[in-house]
Amino acid sequence: MEVNQYLEMFIEESKEHLQACSEHLLELEKNPEDLSIVNEIFRSAHTLKGMSATMGFEDLADLTHKMENVLDAIRNEKIKVTPEILDIVFESVDHLEEMVMDIAEGGDGKRDVQATVAQLKRIEAGEELAKAAEETAATIVQHESKLTYDDFEKTVLAQSIEQDHFAYEISVTLREDCLLKAARVFMVFEILEKNGDVIKSVPTVDNLEEEQFDQTFQIAYISKEQADDLQKKLMKVSEVEEVIVIPLNENVLKSEKKLEVAEEAPQEQQEIVKVAAEPVATNNKAPSSNSKSGSHVSNKMIRVNIERLDILMNLFEELVIDRGRLQSISAEVNHPELNETVERMSRVMGDLQNIVLTMRMVQVETVFNRFPKMVRQLSRDLNKKINLEIIGAETELDRTVIDEIGDPLVHLIRNSLDHGIESPEMRMAKGKPEEGTVQLRAFHSGNYVFIEIEDDGAGINQEKVLAKALAKGVVTAETAKTLSDKQINELILASGFSTADVISDISGRGVGLDVVKTTIESLGGNISIDSTEGVGSTFSIQLPLTLSIISVMLVEIEKEIYAIPLSSIIETSIIRHSEILNAHNQKVIDFRGKVVPLVFLDEIFEVPRTEAQDDEFYSVVIVRKGEKLAGLVVDSFIGQQEIVLKSLGNYLTNIFAISGATILGNGKVALIVDCNALMK
């Protein structure tokens, strides 16, 4: 079967099924009695199993099958859902995801999952715990990549050590391109047998001769030779990549015995499960290196350098400018065929523009997706009950921003979970619901995307923060007095500051929130904190759309053209001079019963006037920032237009009330008004 043809589809669908599994598992955890959810998961898993078996990914199919068995047992009410069981199922899903990723990157999807499989079997079997525990323990030994010895072998090894021989464990790795593996094995054995005795080998000698091994085999060996000499001698055999000689001593043999004790004590199975879980983690790091030899997936997606997209964008801008010129020329000439052609070209350009612009936009969902599982794991680690709500996952952000924003968000969510949300007991004592809520929101506003993380936890203890900031020298006692509540909150973002008395494993990692702040600021955004002690905190991240198309209202002041984002505009209006009122040295108007202050843009922007304006009518753009309104006074309205947001570059930064620029149809630059800055 031509596999490649279907591989892309397989990978995409597998990812979808696994994502569905994760989501449903999280749901199941909330409603452990709802067996219809189990059915959903079962269906996804079943499809996945079928697909991977068809595609020939046996490991993937096998693990899915084991997981399916557990799900089936739950479905048939043979076993009850417990968080411990879900932990293992989640672990399986993690493994499956890794396998699919491996396949997508051209690997063969192989992965050592014995420990997880053993636990799945144990869950499935229910009462056959003893046997399963033994299996688990047995896997440990293999995972340590050490040989196991029976009593006889141990005695031989111990005796030879007593007789001043050395006992070694030798690991020989042949080169990947080794052609005659059996011959090399023979040569290795020949050298060894000249100088000592081979006690055993893994795989067995028979298997080695039949070349039934990857690249590596292990030998237990007794000799009078020094380890270094042995190693050098073995390296002389050609096509040998690596030889590791580990001297065995009594200690090693003893630690072997410890594992044996574990084997003999299945009643302590919780302990064993933990021991077994660790080797899995270490094993994850060692996906077989030979998987690289697999061919890369002929994916129909291509990765494009962002710089190339920028160049495309700029070329496209040039086209837009020429379109503008053509349109005005065709209007002047008024030739029917020319008009028609220009019109059609404009339409095509419009579609093209949409494609070019949306190429860089990605939904924040791609980042948010990983959080439910992370929150679940963390809340279990912390023994807290936490409900994560995600709102606005469909909000789009520029690709470059998406790539960067993941880590800061992980950091902030960890912080909320660790320091924000209190333990269930403490929450109950405070009269709060036992379960804490963390809300992750994303939304567009003006030229910005906001991402907010709100928790209903303990909030920030300002006294403590201030004391710590003073102790760490982040602020001086004098400036401390002048700080507003918000400024005090934001001290926790200062470098060299960490509120945790003990650096915890969850949010600490020895790194403060200053890293978050730095990352966000490097993206041209900023972060602010609102917090009420005892009620909760909100971390609000404001990010610019580094590149996006926005709708604006173009306005004219004297000969200058400015763009006002449509998202800030409520409406435009023409007012009479006599309608302007004075209040507290501020000119205001009555707009639908509301007092709205006027902002004269020509004054704010210091537009050079050739002659004084004394029109009877004023053109006013009513804009909004949250609940606040303001009327921007301009000379005239030009009209609504879609524009491409451009940055002013690195030389002109923080220009008051200007958030960027755009290039108009005539090739000139127009500045974009930052309405948020105009309203305090």
Binding site: M313, N314, L315, E317, E318, I321, E560, I604, F605, E606, V607, K646, S647, L648, G649, N650, Y651, L652, I655, F656, A657, I658, A661, I663, G667, K668, V669, A670, L671
Partner: protein, 148 residues
């Protein structure tokens, strides 16, 4: 001609401002443009003329005469915008004219004499004597950063 000889020279773009000749290493120069429409950017120092559309990239423009506190003249045909890049900044300088590319010997560059005393002294990294011409080498960092 060997490498040893090449190392002793630096290639510069020479431009005219008032009655003096200035030089910028060619490695910093992105291009030379004719004057075009400049969009004023409010609330910036007066020497920031505004921004231009440089083939789709919004580029800030600095008037070097104003930056150096030299008398201001009207627009003339010979005036040019020299686009320079420094670190991650791209900026255009308005100059009276730009028409020369020269190799100057590294050895002929001298420290700026301390007596000049005008504002532009801050912006000068050295002077180069070339036959009977005197080229003033600009200190681009300082030209682009606000004065302390």
């Amino acid at each position: 001609m060997t490498n040893a000889v090449e190392q002793e020279y630096i290639k510069v773009i020479v431009f005219q401002l008032a009655d003096k000749e200035y030089a910028i290493p060619v490695s910093h120069v992105q291009g030379i443009e004719k004057l075009m429409h400049i969009t004023r950017v409010p609330k910036t120092p007066s020497y920031v003329k505004g921004v231009i559309n440089l083939r789709g990239v919004v580029t800030p423009i600095i008037d070097l005469r104003e930056r150096f506190n030299l008398p201001i003249v009207g627009e003339e045909d010979a005036a040019r915008i020299i686009i320079i890049t420094l670190e991650d900044m791209e900026v255009g300088f308005v100059v009276d004219s730009a028409n020369d590319v020269l190799d100057i010997a590294a050895g002929s560059i001298e420290q700026q004499p301390e007596v000049v005393g005008s504002l532009e002294e801050e912006f000068i990294s050295g002077v180069a004597k070339l036959d009977n011409r005197l080229l003033i080498l600009l200190h681009l960092d300082r030209v682009l950063n606000p004065l302390s």
